[in-house]
Amino acid sequence: MSTTVYIPCDSAARSVGADEVALALLAEAELRGLDISMVRNGSRGMLWLEPLVEVDTVRGRIAYGPVSADDVAALLDGGMLDGAAHPRCHGVTDELPWLARQQRVTFSRVGVIDPLSPADYAAHGGLAGLRAALGMRPTQVVDAVTESGLRGRGGAGFPTGIKWKTVAEASDPTKFLCCNADEGDSGTFADRMLLEGDPFTLIEGMVIAAYAVGAVEGYVYVRSEYPDAIATLRRAVEIAYEEAWLGADVLGRGFPFDLEVRVGAGAYICGEETAMLDSLEGKRGMVRAKPPIPALQGLFGRPTVVNNVLSLATVPAVLAGGAEAYRELGVGRSRGTQVFQLAGNVAQGGIVESAFGLSLRDLVEGFGGGTATGRPVRAVQVGGPLGAYLPADRLDLHLDYEELAADGAMLGHGGVVVFDDTVDMGQQARFAMEFCAEESCGKCTPCRVGAVRGVEVIDAILHGSPDERGANVEILEDLCELMTDGSLCAMGGLTPNPVRSVLRHFGEDLGLTPVSAGAPS
């Protein structure tokens, strides 16, 4: 009887040798006359264990990792195909505490199924959300999403249902649906893993959204830095057309929806929704002033839903399980689950999906197991390159929209980057400005010029005369205020976040004594 072996095709797993492991296993199996069938699944999200090989046994799927191509022969000798014990064996995958403590909703199928198998998708609950939605009127679908409390997972946290309602009620007969898969924030990779590991979920979510708001055309804007995700998603869209999940007559229910994959071209700013719309229109990715909001005048001036990958990919689960079930998860006004991405200098990095309410400490110490280097945690950046650096004594903060905002931080796209005590926070502050100078679209002067000045002023603070340091800190604070108040979008408006957090929490790295720092609170 054939034994099923799972080896991820996720690009992170491939980046540390998953393809080589797969080839070695196939070669070794042929040599030994072993009957195996190999599934290239997505990643389970335990990235420190990649390449993670799973073997299907009577006990369930047994995990081995990290496995290198050189380990394969010895693992087979040791009875890996029967799930035998080995130093690299971690037992039944689903029972691993790191996974068992999570509540996977959006990521429930990622790493479990063959990403491009419609049969596998349907067997694991796929299309249940769409079928439920098609049994309702479009307005009821919008209401269900609103009642679920789902908020935009791209970073801004705007209620998804409210956005849909605005578009649904717009009178223009031509409406668009755009999925923002321009996941540019450093420290985030959940969109990529979902696109590579379970792309049908996103497609299903988009079909539901299109039905709810009356859009007949949709686009997924994927950043070009993700070639594997682009290839997988493009193939998934082709298959979805073959299965009539897309096209002129979705599921034979008489409504049309066409979906196209578009590729970015290396501009961080195109993750900002209005810049993304300009880019989709074939222009430079310049930020637009709001109003008009994209829900009323978006792509080509038409009413447009712009949602993040994770928001749309959560919609099928909301519809399948009911708004109430989703709403019951979470705390306060942060409902449902959040997909955290644990990254940087951390021993056990990867995807942690859990109901809102985890603290930073649960994540960094509990799931992450501290730093990879074994040194003390000094700083954690939450929410991407525009997020604040939090010092180790703030690890008890809870990771929900409101509690982070109250502390001058933000959840963003759920990225959490850990730094040990060797980090030079002065350089991190400088980098925030350098990044903004590099990636600003140039529309707003405070962002375009301010970021360049920011680098210069931080250099002056770090390397200039100590007598002028106080004056330069004042200039920097003034500049941060100007960028915050005078920029149209989050790029210029939030770049001061990391800079100010360094002034506030790590002033000594800018040569400031804690007292003279005069840090804004």
Binding site: S11, A12, R14, S15, V16, L47, W48, E50, E183, G184, D185, S186, G187, T188, F189, D191, R192, S224, E225, Y226, P227, D228, R262, V263, G264, A265, G266, A267, Y268, S279, L280, E281, G282, K283, R284, G285, F300, Q341, L342, A343, G344, N345, V346, G349, G350, A372, Q381, P385, G415, V417, V418, F419, D420, V423, Q427, Q428, F431, F435, E438, E439
Partner: protein, 157 residues
């Protein structure tokens, strides 16, 4: 398909294949760069004429996006991630090593045309940092030794 010499006929065919596409400029530029390796002035002129845009508009788009090249890249293109997650795992040292060992800065190509070194802000491999992308392939946990090996392996291909 490997990179080919510029051909106005082939380029025109590529542009016209996108005739039904809304906002076709980026898909067109991607397709042309994939075929010809870069987007020279002749490409800008042709695209402007075919899509009924001004040359300034096309030039503006080509120069806005860091993916689009106006000169041919080296035979191997390596992009080193400079994102914060990679920084937390030593990418600043890797950046210095890459520039020093190749003798070029970011955005430059070695004199023999073998390697182009690019910077990139996040490759989405943030739990296996530092990351680089070499000819489109993602590599994780890259240190100076692995970087050198990747470069010499690419040269041997």
């Amino acid at each position: 398909m490997s990179v080919q010499e510029w051909s106005a006929d082939a380029a025109t065919e590529i542009v016209r294949a996108h005739s039904g596409v809304r906002g076709a400029l980026l898909p067109v530029l991607h397709a042309l760069q994939e075929r010809f390796g870069h987007l020279g002035p002749e490409a800008t002129r042709l695209v402007a004429k075919e899509l009924n845009l001004s040359r300034a508009d096309v030039h503006g788009v080509v120069t806005f996006y860091s993916d689009f090249r106006t000169a041919p890249p080296g035979r191997t293109v390596i992009a080193v991630c400079r994102g914060e997650a990679c920084q937390s795992c030593g990418s600043r040292e890797l950046e210095r090593h890459a520039q020093h060992s190749l003798g070029i800065g970011f955005g430059e190509t070695t004199a023999d045309g073998s390697v182009t070194l690019d910077q990139v802000f996040c490759l989405g491999n943030c739990a296996l940092s530092p990351a680089v992308q070499i000819d489109g392939r993602l590599v994780g946990r890259v240190d100076a030794d692995l970087f050198d090996r990747l470069v010499s392996d690419a040269a041997a291909r």
